[in-house]
């Protein structure tokens, strides 16, 4: 049984005209001790997915309207608030993108660290303090005893993110949701934080759902990857497979858009034309089809499902693309097409 199993999750938000579906039938799983990535551009629904899992979608602004979130076999969506509180912290912990807005500016770091220890683990003051020092040491913050009485503004961005990691790990959770945790940081600090999270997760056996827009970061962190586009998962694969034999034209586009330090310079980048659809005006059929250079008529007619590609047996790779699937009128794409893909330069 996977540690976390999300089944057909749907989350809607209230908008000017009715409601929009930000997460539309998302299913994936995370095994114990595993690091799984959720990648996509802004607005693709990756953060809304994480917030739905944590029960942070608050009516009436947003509502989880369908699906199941099974954590150790129990559905978080049907739990009572009391039961949910018991899962948060000890079961699942979350780290957010911006450590400054997730820390309380008027409380010391020590106060905020010990709060969850006292609440969730019922430690007394002294034991909580000792554990807090231990945690700050674990995330490699120098002079932890004196740092406990500092306030968040006295810490740098990287240090604050370390505190957030310490806080997330404080109750020894089995799963951490890390939502764009290095996006606000500089590259050298990003390297420190990723290194730290990787080490600590391996050491403590904590599973991590790693949410990011940066494919480079994914390559070094995750074992499996889910690519999201316009509220749906469009490709799922092991990290090695995703980077070496990506099957979805959207993934091809993402990989072709970023210049790489390890490759020879020269040539134009291959951007994806256009922009992601508005949530309120989803295209019919495949949601990527209006931007796709390989689309056929079929793509605009009906939406493809997330299934294994034609003739692709023995892999756990799934893709949401008619061009890759063995259906009547489908299956016109092969892996070689991604190199032939040279969209016309946008004027």
């Amino acid at each position: 049984m996977p540690l976390l199993e999300v089944q057909d999750l749907r989350t809607e938000f209230r908008a000017a005209q009715g409601s929009v579906t930000a997460v539309d039938g998302v299913s994936f799983s995370v095994d114990a001790g595993e690091m799984v990535a959720l990648v996509g551009e802004s607005g693709c629904g990756k953060s809304a997915t994480a917030q739905s899992i944590m029960g942070l979608i608050v009516p009436p602004i947003g509502r989880v309207t369908g699906g199941k979130v099974l954590f150790e076999g129990r559905d978080l969506l049907t739990m009572k608030p009391r039961e949910l509180r018991a899962v948060r912290g000890k079961g699942i912990a979350m780290i957010f993108q911006d450590p400054m807005t997730s820390l309380n500016p008027v409380l010391t770091i020590g106060k905020q660290l010990t709060e969850s220890l006292r609440l969730h683990l019922s430690l007394n003051g002294r034991a909580a303090r000792a554990r807090a020092i231990e945690l700050l040491e674990m995330v490699r913050i120098p002079a932890p005893e004196t740092r406990l009485s500092s306030y968040p503004h006295q810490f740098s961005g990287g240090m604050r993110q370390r505190v957030m990691i310490a806080m997330a790990l404080s109750c020894r959770p089995r799963l951490i949701l890390a939502d764009e945790i290095t996006t606000a940081l500089d590259v050298t600090i990003q390297a420190q934080i990723l290194d730290l999270l990787r080490d600590l997760a391996a050491e403590t056996g904590t599973a991590v759902l790693f949410i990011t827009h940066d494919l480079g970061v994914v390559a070094g962190m995750a074992e499996r990857v889910n690519v999201m586009y316009a509220g749906q998962i469009v490709e799922r694969a092991t990290t090695a497979e995703l980077f070496h034999r990506p099957q979805m034209p959207y993934t091809w586009g993402l990989l072709g858009s970023v210049p790489r330090l390890d490759q020879a310079r020269g040539g134009k980048l291959r951007p994806i034309a256009g922009q992601p659809p508005e949530l309120s005006a989803m295209p019919t059929g495949c949601r990527f089809q209006p931007r796709c250079t390989h689309a056929h008529d079929l793509c605009a007619e009906s939406p493809p499902a997330l299934t294994a590609a034609r003739g692709d047996t023995g892999h756990a790779q799934l893709t949401r693309c008619w061009g890759m699937q063995d259906v009547p009128r489908g299956g016109w794409l092969s892996l070689d097409d991604r190199h032939a893909d040279q969209p016309k330069q946008e004027k």
Partner: protein, 350 residues
């Protein structure tokens, strides 16, 4: 002032004239001081030397707070430098009066990072793009409109958007408006301050390609300020790496990326993730200790020494000057990596 002596001007690549020369530039900000009513002095840029040659893209990279944006603004005299000179096409800008400077500004423009904050939400796209012409030319309304429409076409904005407002545009389209505003007065030199950082990767690539082709088409000289080293390598001809208000290394693009000589440049390059799991897991990273020190209280001597694995006593007492042993490759370090062997091997690829 413990500033290193300005480095000797390096021979221009291909003997092009330097359109822009920056020497010993410093910018100070007054910030509230702890425990005192008198403000403290924060030196955001502390003695920067830069050259931009006609028709090239000069990349300026560094992490937040290194002074790269401040340098860009001080070059355009949007911030008043407290020291040093900025010479543009033989004219010393820091000495110019307001009127003369305004006339110069037609020739030097800026593209800003945030396409949301840099456009007036109450103006139409057409008016936004025409606005610089009101300041910089005596064109008639009809001429301005015609120029705005050609510029929209140039940056890949449909002229149908002319009467629309910024909120109706996506981030990528807004950035095209920002670029059009910078280019409508036909400048020779453009400072692009993190123009793609706020955009998603697929849109980012569109804008990078646009800047690349505009530069070729119009023969622009560009200063491209960014923190994304892969984008900078893709776009730029020469690169200056900044750390805590100083330039620590400048070199031709391939030279810098294949043979970084300053320890900070090495660490910066090794920190960039590469979208390939095999390479990522094999790679040995140089992870720097600690954080960038505060510019209010910078380290003595070499500013990088507090995070440097090579630091010795001399780094604390003597500020290394930006000097060059190999042509066109300058480095400010007491213990740099040796330069490329002189009879330079041809580049690894063509």
């Amino acid at each position: 002032m413990s500033h290193p002596t300005p480095a000797a001007t390096v021979a221009a690549p291909g003997d092009r004239p330097a359109l822009l020369q920056v020497r010993d530039l410093a910018v100070d900000f007054k910030v509230p001081a702890k425990g005192s009513l008198r403000p403290a002095n924060l030196r955001a840029v502390a003695g920067v030397d830069l050259d931009a040659y006609r028709g090239e893209i000069l990349g300026v990279v560094g992490e937040s707070g290194c002074g790269k944006s401040t340098t860009g603004r001080a070059i355009l005299q949007l911030l008043k430098p407290s020291q040093g000179t900025v010479t543009f096409d033989g004219v010393e800008l820091t000495a110019l009066g307001r009127g003369r400077m305004r006339a110069m500004r037609r020739r030097m423009q800026m593209i800003f990072q945030d396409p949301y904050a840099s456009l007036n939400p109450r103006m139409t796209i057409g008016d936004l793009i025409e606005e610089p012409l009101l300041v910089h030319s005596r064109a008639t309304a009809r001429e301005r409109r015609a120029k705005a429409l050609t510029t929209m076409d140039l940056v890949g904005l449909s002229t149908r958007w002319h009467e629309r407002y910024p909120h109706e545009l996506s981030g990528g389209q807004r950035q095209r408006v920002g670029i059009a505003r910078a280019l409508v007065s036909d400048p020779e030199f453009v400072v692009a301050d993190e123009p793609v950082s706020a955009l998603d990767v697929s849109i980012q690539a569109q804008i990078v390609n646009l800047l690349e082709s505009l530069q070729e088409e119009l023969g622009l000289t560009m200063m491209f300020i960014a923190h994304d080293l892969a984008v900078v390598r893709h776009l730029c001809d020469r690169i200056a790496v900044m750390y805590l208000g100083t330039v620590v290394e400048t070199a031709g693009c391939e030279d810098l990326y294949t043979r970084p000589r300053h320890p900070y440049t090495q660490a910066l390059l090794s920190a960039v993730p590469i979208p390939d799991p095999l390479i990522e897991t094999e790679r040995r990273r140089r992870i720097l200790k600690g954080d960038v020190p505060s510019p209010l209280n910078p380290p003595t001597g070499c500013r990088f020494r507090t995070r440097c694995w090579k630091a010795q006593d001399i780094c604390e007492t003597q500020t290394p000057a930006l000097t060059s042993e190999a042509a066109g490759h300058q480095v400010a370090c007491h213990f740099p990596e040796p330069p490329a062997p002189e009879p330079a091997a041809p580049p690894a690829h063509t």
